[in-house]
Assembly symmetry: D4
Homo-oligomer: 151 residues x 8
């Protein structure tokens, strides 16, 4: 069994690298995908390729629709969608991804600190697991794949 | 043609009433649904009916899952989902609803002020209309139903 | 909003009547469906209409497939599926209905006593509400429809 | 043609090993999946990874939802779902899996002893084959793959 | 509960009228649909409306595709599809309708005499009921709707 | 049986009115929908409601996405989609609607003059009927509903 | 591009071998599947594995449902379904397969002699190609894969 | 991540070759498909394989339905559908393909010159990217796959 896992959400800490390293160390059969994590490229990709826009709304629209080619593909082909909410920013795109994953029947894992618990209650309620750390995500993938409780 | 419209998101201003009044005044054939907007009832419904929980996480889980019976039904049976982002709170549930609506192929209308433009770019990019006021939602519904530009 | 509710499971107590009476008393806009609750008719319907079978397996197969015309229709057209597990019998058909409801994305409410908690953990985990009494089901329907916490 | 087969249900006898050994001996092109069969791990996985719960209901909910990541993936990606009902326990999860498989249009094979015939009539009625032994499952897979009646 | 029933197949006896009369006599809440049963109109509708064709293949293609507007609509919106195989003709369109109904997950009732039993075994195997007479169809609809065994 | 029919395509002749009048005269049980046929309103609706755009591309994008709320709803809820290609303009939106209708499994009727035959061969090939006049559409609807060949 | 092709229908001539040989000779990238073509095994597989039945109806039911595991898998995973109607027998299973293929949106190729043209008009009308010979099927697959008209 | 890309539309310039060469040069993991681009073969394939037709309508119908086996397969299995509108011809098949892609939820990229902007506004409005050159398509695929802005 190979699991396809999409890693959505916060892009300013190295949580994705931690999960990849943990899964590699455990020898897990997982294929990862996720959004473009270069913040500047993600913001400007639309106008860089398709031409500048004087209005910020259309600048953003061009980029967001271009990024959607990648994110929709990742979510639609994933078995599991992990969505991490960090400490900063609005992160509405993370919740938006979680909503898409839920509606598509994907197994949803939500990752956030205790301070966001009440605000994320609707998202957590749709999840099959709610965790705080990258290590827990690795443990879950190890258990799902191998029935192994490594902790 | 009757349109079924789900009004998601912010619950602390009277934007829903404005839309309902506007549609009534214009004689539009629209049926509205939406979440429970009594904040206290929405937070406590789970434990009120199914028993208290000492742990806030499960208190919230019980309520959020119970509310999901209503919100999923509303979104799944809607032709159009309007999601409003207000000035306060995290509003992750609004973005989560928008993600569900997008994945289900619903026509999505997003309503927010200019200050949230950049943070909502992924949600706006999935929408068929982005507006600021309740009056604009009424105008859109009037146009969609009757081909009338009332402005 | 009208809710369509399928009442699956145990057929030897009057829990369905309690829910119907409770919803009627509360004036709720609910349409109910459910299996044939006449145990003898349900067991013998196949052979009664399509001819006797000497082998009990085919006697039961004829009846079960005939009953499936009604139960599938009820589950597929329901917004909410309530599944009650009683004190007696194997009740595998109740769990089978719950599995169908879950896979079809129906809102699932499970109703059972505390003694069945561990054995039903997979079914409960797929539910949006787990209750013990008919009165709680009525309260849930009242809340989902009207946002009212009658308790 | 490779067949993907999910082996659901009873975890206290070695029927899965018998099927795997039989298919291997016959050189069949089958890929198997199934639930975690370590009973203790399956019961405690949720709290082991995501933290202890004083209330047994939530202890079980955490585990059951975590196990659902694996079982849903297995059932959804299977061509054939085999569900075995053994002699002991309630086995509602087995019937729940069978219901999911039926609703998803999977080819369902049910395996049980004669004493459970009447209680399983609804599940059997949804199946394409009803058998008693592991050897019969191997014969079926051999026939489906190769058109060979090995008996 | 209203049932929508499509009556497919043989058009040279009055079995449809028998079922309609029987359901009316029993006061059943059923809505019927079916193909055009005027054989000449059904054969020639395409060329009558869209112009003559010298080649019989295209004469038939025009008619068959036009009839498909009605038959697909009937099958797709039905809860139950009844397919009757009579004594004469090839009746491949009846088996074709049954295949569509099966693939769409409709409840399938097959009606035929004992002499066709072996030739129809694949169709019967996909059905929830196999009967010989119109009266049995009425009894089934009465049972499915009202849980009543009128026989 | 009520048929829901979406009338897509050319908006500069009165073919829609002819079909409506013909169906009314024949007493047919048909409900019609279609795009906004006021050319100016259709072009400018987006900026009229949501604010002017200096760039024609975004002016058109706003309008086209707003019109999509109406056209998608019409196509998705239709039983039959009639697409008319007239003599003038590119009419790519008509072919685009036909593609959506085909992919959604709608019964497609295409209406055009003989001079467009070769250029429309892919669209015609997906249709269940190809006609030249409004009167033929009325005859088809009469036949589909009533089995009547009025010509 | 690899094409997956299901070869349904008549099992008493060597048309399947002709197609396989033709595709091999042309070096086409095609994977074939089909029903069990050993008539005796296909008729008796159910009772051979799951036990004898005194009643021919259940003898056939057991076999037909077992064969359905293979045929449904083949049809559901195919890109193209070729259905051949031969000279003998009722061949209702062939038309039943064609109906399933049509409802699942598969590309349907029908193969039959001129004498069956009128009786198969509904099946032909749902097909993307109607041919008489195995060589034509090979030519079609060659064209679809390589854009080559070998004739 | 491998992307599957269908290249629809104009067949008289070498834009497909430019995209293939550009992706090869950039080392992108993309698999391409598209229609048969030999205009004569595409027009005549039906009659070449299945026999001549005196009537141009049926000549074209045979070819268009045969080509649909390839084009539907390509669109349905693609992650991204690129549709190019050139300078000449009606190109209704291109818009028809775009409509299919949109209804199937594919990521749509539209490629055309500025002069077609207004006429293509409905198609552009359904797209995630609108470009003018093959080089831009390569840049988009590079960005979607690798997050790289090569420009």
């Amino acid at each position: 069994m190979t699991l396809s896992v999409y890693l959505s959400g916060e892009i300013h800490t190295d949580w994705r690298d931690e999960i990849l390293a943990g899964c590699k160390a455990a020898g897990l059969d997982v294929v990862f995908s996720g959004p473009v994590t270069d913040h500047a490229a993600s913001d400007d990709c639309g106008v860089a390729i398709m031409g500048a826009e004087p209005d910020k709304f259309w600048h953003d629209a061009k980029g967001a629709r271009l990024n959607a080619i990648r994110t929709r593909h990742g979510i639609e082909t994933a078995d599991i969608v992990v969505v991490r909410f960090g400490e900063k920013y609005r992160q509405w795109n993370a919740a938006f991804d979680a909503g898409q994953a839920a509606a598509l029947g994907k197994s949803l894992i939500v990752m956030h600190g205790a301070d966001h618990q009440h605000a994320l209650k609707e998202v957590d309620a749709a999840a099959l697991a709610v965790v705080e750390t990258s290590a827990q995500v690795v443990q879950i993938l190890d258990y799902v794949l191998n029935g192994r409780l490594s902790g």
